[in-house]
Amino acid sequence: MKKSIMLCAVFLLAATMVFAGGAQETEEKMTIRVAEQVPNLITPGVWDGQAFSLNGSIYDYLIEMDAHTGELVPSLATEWSSPEGKVWTIKLRKGVKFHDGSDFTSADVKYTLERTQDPDLGHLKAQDFENLDKIETPDDHTVVITLKEAAPTFNFIFTDYNMAILSSDYDYASKGESAPMGTGPFKLEKLVPKESALLVKNSEYWAEGLPKAEELRIYFVPDIDSSVSLLEAGQVDIVPQISPIIKKRLESMDGFKVVSPYQESRFIALADDREPFSDNRVRLAFKYTMDPEILAKACQGTLGETIFYNETPIVNALAQYKEIPFRGRDIDKAKELLAEAGYPDGLKVDFFYASDHPYGSDIAQTLKELSAPAGIELNLKGFPRDIYLSQHWMNGPALLTGWGVRVDPSMLLMLAYHSEGPWNESHIDNPRVDELIDKIRGEVDPEVRQTYYDELQQIFHEEGTVINLQVPYLVGVSDAVSDYRQPLTMLPQLEYTTIK
């Protein structure tokens, strides 16, 4: 009996060694493998629709962005113009087909745009397209959009990740999550929801020579560490949205590099509609406790090189940015201001953030440390991102939220800093700010617009409700990968990527 047990043990050990062989790749086609976070809903326009590698590959957009220059380039739209920003004429590309063989026509554009107003959907761009008066399709390849009010930079919205062009004949309501379909460089061959997606080259893609790779495999991995382990083990090639700590880890190893295709913002919002931050003195006091160098180090970066600090929602990479020097950390001044505002013994305030988002936890804890000496006690309340966004965001006295940059800053200002903006997380209600934003939106002359931007940023510095920490969006990539492109739209352009 004992002998047989011994034999079993030996057999087990032997079996283990055999199985340690590992899987073998015997394919010769160029396959790119990406490990992404597990998405919620993947249909564009619906919350959260952030399966970027997937959507950027199976869909096309009217206008895309050059990943290097940031300029708008034609995609499904070949030309667009508007004399005064009120009537937009868009010419569409000919000869484009959807993956199911149907032709791409102006009817599809009309369908995609009108879909934003569907009350059942809760489309994320619903507000932006409320300005739509009518859409006309004089022929199969022309769309004429008339807006209720002029918006000279309206075309920028077509680059947004929610505005993938959908087929008017396809039932996205029931198939959008299991068999989505578009005109993009890759076709979806197999989707295992929440697990993986297999995409193959769209051989009828309208762009000459693209996509370069033949196959795209996307794995949805819930744990970022597992994704990175897969990268290290050579089982995937690209891992987007890594944290700065993982960046350190990859940089210390051979065979990997970390690219930062663009910067993101982390907005620290101080709510203007409730205590304590409704008093600008308290807001200033908080700002006086900031130390950008330490914040940068907490994000594993260097201030001025990879991390930037400012107090306006406009990032320094944009032409509209105005440099306003940091006021400097001054704990005594902070205490003075607090006392003036009625908090001589300091104050306690809840601080909400998404605990599993890169930089979130690090920034929150650093803020707590930095503001403590002045008597400001931050009561950290971190939640998984889903719960944070659906229950606490827009609902707290102080918040930390990740924001993508909008190439046209007026879009972001409308969204979040206009008193009526749908995502006005800091509940700012400043008439002059509202006025300036409205003026910016309607102003055709860029120089006049800039004067408004300048004034706006000055106001933000003096009495604003936001601190903007610019952090790099990081992607871990194996050295075998070339030409990974991901513009500010957050949509990777995997059609250009090759792998050795």
């Binding site: 970022i224 944290s243 350190k248 907490a298 599993d356 936890s361 804890q365 440390e369 950290l380 229950q391």
Partner: protein, 276 residues
């Protein structure tokens, strides 16, 4: 009491367990005031330095915080919650289990079935679902939920212990005397069942620590920057190659505490149950 102490002296494992446990308790009580660093202090010039460097006994983590200090501070929350949990679940379990066993009949049957049903969900799964949906935990929330998951098991043990005493003479004597039910349960029976009950409490203590650490690992532990040992492990898991001390020492802390309690609990079980 003296016999217990004598037996204690003869068991080196029990002594080892008890010593480690006491060391942690002392660390939790006075440790923080003796430490040069706070558990949130960020020494930005020394991020991720190894043990022994720059004055940090066990190194620092990615935010420059001293690992040793965080472990010592963390002992407070884990010991407090584990202690509260084991006490709470034991008290609740005793009350429920005694009531069921004492009154017997239909009360007993109902209680038994309810307890069986509650025990049908693995405790970690139950705690994870509740806390996961709520989003995170506070000390109070964690204590209550973990206690609830453990109460049924304790109730069963208490009930079993009561049943062995129910028909003894002193109980009959008390009944004849006309003492109230409560009196009989808690003045006559309880002291005689203290053995298994104490074993239960110590066992629960060990399980609570493991459960709390695991919940921290699954992301529903205490809020940062509270140095919850389980959360320290998961926060620093990415650093396992670059800075293994940030993961290793909190893991060892968890292990040492659970082993210590288990050793002691083993001893208590041997001594108090008096089984051969």
């Amino acid at each position: 009491m003296n016999t217990y102490l004598l037996q204690l002296k003869r068991s080196p494992r029990a002594i080892a367990g008890l010593t480690i446990l006491l060391l942690w308790i002392i660390a939790a009580l006075i440790g923080p005031s003796l430490l040069p660093y706070t558990y949130t202090g960020m020494d930005m010039n020394n991020q991720m330095v190894g043990p022994g460097e720059a004055g940090h006994l066990l190194g620092t983590d990615a935010l420059g915080r001293d690992v040793f200090s965080r472990i010592i501070y963390g002992s407070r929350s884990i010991l407090t919650i584990a202690l509260l949990t084991s006490l709470l679940s034991s008290i609740a379990g005793i009350i429920i289990g005694f009531t069921a066993g004492y009154f017997g009949g239909i009360v007993d049957t109902i209680f038994l079935r309810i307890m069986d049903i509650l025990m049908a969900i693995p405790p970690l799964v139950l705690a994870m679902v509740v806390l996961g949906i709520l989003g995170n935990s506070t000390i109070v929330g964690l204590t209550i939920i973990v206690s609830i998951t453990y109460t049924p098991a304790t109730a069963r043990v208490a009930r079993g212990a009561l049943l062995t005493c129910k028909s003894s003479e002193y109980v009959d004597a008390a009944r004849i005397r006309g003492e109230s039910h409560l009196y009989i349960m808690f003045v006559e029976i309880l002291p005689n069942t203290i053995g298994p009950v104490i074993v239960e409490i110590t066992a629960r203590f060990a399980y609570s620590i493991m459960m709390i650490a695991s919940l921290g690992f699954l992301g529903v532990g205490l809020q940062p920057p509270t140095p919850d040992w389980g959360m320290m492990v998961i926060e620093n898991k990415s650093l396992i190659r670059a800075a293994p001390w940030t993961v290793l020492y909190p893991s060892l802390a968890i292990a040492s505490l659970v082993i210590a309690i288990s050793l002691f609990s083993d001893f208590v079980s041997k001594v108090m149950i008096n089984e051969d």
